[in-house]
């Protein structure tokens, strides 16, 4: 193939490269200078509370939203000048489904494939294959409108694959879905990852990030607060274990256990002790006569990292 875009990315393994990337909406700075590099085959995550700038970043990477400043290369190309060529080779799952709900499942896939320049026979074959993948074959000729949220989401993901993308961008792929639908979606995304598709995911579900992402950044207030693999981030920003002591509201001060952990956090009904050995901390607390209503030793999760970095205050 003589397509120069293909040549560019076959030699570079960096699919997304952003330096000092910014996005302003009027006087509002949604993204305030971030550096991101995503390599081929990686599953990369953007974590952050609402309004952290994740979606704005995703929209810039998917070449639908022009950047305000900084450098951005996607598949080795500049979105400002090569938007259509980049979009031809990426798949986008937007935060809000934008399926054509008055068409059938099959028609949605076929119509969308045509926008990528695929022939009618190619989109017919592709639609059948994708409906199989998304477990929607038995709904092939049903209108989209009455389908469940999970089915619509699966269809949106199937649709994003119609051009066999090198890079798949998923903006909160499972928000609002029930656990069954989420697990089915994770399974499908995991399969894509196995087959070598590079994934970029935004989410505020920590379990989702831990399940799917090789590497992630935590965004807050338009900036990157931390970067690493889920394991690294937990090691860096939290402890191996967390001891949760539950008290009747108002009866905990935390003072009597403060020195038992590397760090403690006093919540209205609980005291969290961040420590490498939860059981030992619990035994020590008992020995001091601390009598919580209940206690729990668990391993640290990304959620602990997330809350430490972005705070417990509601942002929206």
């Amino acid at each position: 193939m003589s397509d120069p875009a293909a040549t560019v990315t076959s030699v570079t393994s960096t699919l997304v490269n952003a330096k000092g990337l910014t996005k302003h909406f009027g006087s509002f700075e949604a993204v305030r200078g971030i550096d991101v590099e995503v390599s081929r085959g990686e599953a990369f995550g953007f974590l952050g509370p609402n309004g952290a700038g994740k979606s704005s970043t995703m929209r810039m990477v998917s070449c639908v939203s022009p950047r305000t400043g900084g450098e951005l290369r996607v598949l080795g190309l500049d979105p400002d000048t090569d938007g259509p060529r980049i979009r031809a080779r990426i798949g986008v799952v937007p935060q809000q489904d934008n399926l054509d709900t008055e068409l059938t499942v099959r028609q949605n896939l076929q119509v969308y494939g045509r926008y990528f320049g695929l022939s009618r026979s190619a989109v017919r074959a592709k639609a059948t294959e994708l409906m199989e993948f998304a477990q929607l074959s038995d709904r092939a000729d049903a209108e989209v409108e009455p389908l469940s949220g999970g089915m619509k989401r699966r269809l949106t993901i199937a649709r994003s694959l119609v051009n066999d993308p090198d890079l798949l961008l998923l903006d909160e792929p499972t928000t609002g879905l029930d656990p069954q639908a989420r697990h089915l979606l994770w399974d499908r995304l995991f399969r894509l990852k196995q087959s070598g598709v590079t994934l970029i995911i935004t989410t505020h579900y920590m379990d989702e990030a831990e399940q799917l992402c090789d590497r992630l950044v935590v965004m807050d207030g338009g900036r990157i607060a931390a970067e690493g693999s889920p394991g690294e981030l937990i090691r860096r920003y939290s402890t191996k274990e967390v001891l949760e002591l539950r008290f009747p509201p108002g009866e905990q001060s935390g003072d009597e256990v403060r020195d038992l952990a590397e760090r403690i956090e006093v919540l209205p009904d609980r005291v969290l002790l961040y420590t490498s050995d939860g059981e030992a901390a619990l035994a020590a607390a008992h020995a001091r006569g601390v009598r919580p209503v209940s206690s729990l030793v668990r391993r640290s999760t990304l959620e602990d990292v997330f809350l430490r970095l972005t705070g417990r205050t509601l942002v929206d």
Binding site: A88, R89, L99, Y115
Partner: protein, 262 residues
Amino acid sequence: MSTHVVSPWRAPLIAVEHHWTWYRRNWRATVISNFLQPVLFLLAMGVGFGSQVREGEATGGHPYLVYLAPALLVITAVQNAVFESTWAVFSAFKWQRTYLAAVATPITPAQVLHGQLLWIALRLVTGTAVFLLIAVALGAISSPMAVLAVPFAALAGMAFSAPAVAFTATREKPDSFNAIFRFLVMPMTLFTGGFFPLSQLPAWIHPLAWLTPVWHGIELARGATFGTLRLLPALGHVAYLSALVALGVLLGRRYFRRRLAV
């Protein structure tokens, strides 16, 4: 499998294919407003009311039904353009968000606009063509030259549609659409020489009528049908209508980009 960036010329055709896919499933819903309503008008005004109108100078020496038919073709095209250019476009931005899906592909906002306008033009051409056939069946068409009324009606429809689509692209709420129909389109269809000659109206209204695409469309459609159209005025009408289309396309490109690439 080979994906590629489709050419700027093919992209609107693919968008039209999308609309056509929708239309194949949903055309029944459009029949009533697109065909039945003008036919009822033709029957009520042309056949019913028209039977009370004497042929004379005002009707160009034609029976009222025959006098009315080419004008009604234009009025129908403009009225059909209203819904397609406001509610349907608004929905593609806001409710169905199908435009947002399209611009995530290699298609650009301008190409989405071109596809939408091409689709509306096709709807107007086919709609007026079917209406013409019905008018022929009702004996409302006297001359084969009435075939020319179809492209003229569609052009007048597009002269309204293109600026209306651009306007819709700037709307965050659909509030103004009903007002457009009541206060812009209704007067435009009633007082632009379609049902009775413009000379019956006070002189100060005339310049207002000349601004509307409906008046120019009616002059063209009626003139072509009755063989009274002179070349120079015809070119003037076509130029004015084309200028409105061009203005709509230029504004539309800007507003579509502003709305879809933020």
